[in-house]
């Protein structure tokens, strides 16, 4: 089995810095450029994918006019949004109204910082990785609450309060699922978690427990990023788009972009924690099989897995109807959380007594 050497851009920058400050600054610029380009391109690609997937689920074609199969449609839309007037309601709190999209964007970018896309494509890799992701994605809810409050609009306030209650409630369940993986891999560092899955992914290596926590994590994360069936904070038919009713032009585009990149981050985190991240599909002991799997580079494995989860999230949108507020709260506090607690305890027992496939190296 080949071994992987993890080297993040932050490490490279730290190594280059003592010799020449210029080289260190070059790596910082590389990271910044990568993240900015990734945000813009991935955002456009995901919006295009969402529209195409939606169209094909409904036996339509979707965007077809701009470019072959409409691939430049989102580029055109982005340019259109750039030329749209920026309307700020005169009743609103103008400073907070401006600050809210920044908070949303910040949460998204900071989470992107630690996502391990391959052994070499990872910007920073701190030892508290999982906790860090939970912490910075928490800023997203501040952006939403601030947007709703500063708009001085009843729809916005109601949408923001719903979103706040929903996001913080489901965060508890998501954390319960994350704790399970931290327990099994014995580390919070994302690259270490990926490496701990060299013998097999946690979703099947921890019998049943892994699958249960994957499902809990997926449901809770969907609620945290307000995707269907949990999109009631933005229910356009009942709340006129909720917290971003009063946002237009590029300010609205920032929320929209952050939301779509959040979807990718959720998919990437689910892939990293439960599906082995960039680690190829390995079964401990089957060295020939594993070396065949190694033929596909780690970056491709990560893209495949996160792409699969993104497709799953888009699929959900056309399968499940939107929940009601009381159903939403019931699902979290009376169903997911008790299951999460039981699962957490079962996971702890199986870590202590070694009830999982293949020992940790």
């Amino acid at each position: 089995m080949s071994s992987w050497e993890v080297k993040t851009i932050a490490q490279r920058a730290a190594e280059a810095m003592p010799e020449s400050v210029l080289a260190g600054a070059g790596y910082v610029l590389l990271a910044v450029g990568f993240a900015a380009a990734f945000m813009a391109l991935m955002g456009m690609a995901l919006i295009y994918a969402e529209r195409k997937v939606a169209a094909h689920f409904q036996c339509r074609l979707g965007p077809m006019r701009v470019g072959p199969h409409g691939i430049f449609q989102t580029v055109a839309d982005t340019i259109k949004l750039l030329f749209k007037e920026d309307i700020v309601p005169s009743q609103s709190d103008k400073l907070l109204h401006l600050f809210a999209p920044y908070l949303s964007m910040m949460a998204t970018l900071l989470a992107l910082l630690v996502l391990p896309m391959s052994p070499v494509v990872q910007i920073a890799d701190m030892n508290i990785g999982v906790l860090y992701v939970t912490a910075v994605t928490g800023f997203g809810v501040l952006g939403v609450l601030l947007a709703g409050w500063s708009s001085n609009n009843k729809w916005s306030l109601l949408g923001a309060m719903r979103a706040g209650a929903q996001i913080i409630s489901y965060e508890v369940s998501a954390t319960m699922a994350l704790l399970v993986v931290v327990m099994f891999s014995g580390s919070m560092q994302l690259s270490k978690i990926v490496e701990s899955q060299a013998e097999g992914w946690w979703i099947w290596r921890a019998p049943v427990i892994g699958l249960v926590s994957f499902v809990i994590f997926l449901i809770a994360s969907l609620a945290e990023i307000s995707r269907t069936p949990f999109d009631l904070p933005e229910g356009e038919s009942e709340l006129t788009a909720g917290f971003h009713t009063e946002y237009s032009g590029l300010r609205f585009a920032m929320f929209f972009l952050a939301e779509f990149i959040n979807m990718f981050i959720v998919a990437g985190m689910a892939a990293t924690l439960f599906l082995g991240g960039w680690m190829p599909f390995h079964i401990g002991g089957f060295d020939t099989f594993n070396s065949v799997m190694d033929l596909l580079p780690p970056g491709a494995w990560f893209s495949l897995k996160s792409g699969l989860v993104v497709f799953l999230i888009m699929w959900f949108r056309w399968t499940f109807p939107r929940l009601r507020v009381d159903q939403l709260m019931k699902l979290e506090w009376k169903i997911l959380l008790p299951i999460g607690f039981v699962n957490l305890f079962a996971a702890a027992a199986s870590v202590v007594f070694g009830w999982y496939f293949f020992p940790i190296r």
């Binding site: 993240a35 964007m105 910040m106 306030l157 508890v172 319960m176 585009a253 507020v325 702890a348 202590v352």
Partner: protein, 116 residues
């Protein structure tokens, strides 16, 4: 170095949002008027301000969230070191979680979890 990048990315987010908005301000038309800047309320003139009191239920859920999130923060170091702690760690954390589960059951019985 990792946390230096966090600072850099805080700046990048600012550049992305405020730079974009500045570019949009240069390119896009900007002709505000009283009706355009009015608060949206489905075509009606809004009655009163949007800053109103809201349901206390939201507050109760925030309190519950606080308890369980702090609990999770306590459990992270335990989860990392669980392999070394062994059965003793399992029992101790089990008791800790049990106390919190009693809290959840209490809230459930009191009807806090019902959405009204």
């Amino acid at each position: 170095m990792d946390f230096f990048f966090v600072l850099v990315f805080l700046g990048l987010a600012g550049l992305f949002v405020f730079g974009g908005l500045f570019a949009s301000r240069l390119l896009a038309p900007h002709r505000p008027d009283a009706n355009k800047n009015a608060t949206y309320e489905c075509g009606e003139r809004p009655i009163g301000t949007g800053w109103v009191q809201f349901n206390v239920g939201y507050y109760l859920f925030a309190l519950l969230f606080l308890i369980f999130d702090v609990e999770a923060a306590f459990l992270y170091p335990w989860a990392v070191a669980l392999r070394e702690l062994g059965v003793a760690g399992l029992i101790e954390a089990g008791l800790f979680i049990l106390v919190l589960v009693f809290g959840l059951v209490y809230a459930w019985r009191k009807g806090v979890l019902e959405w009204v």
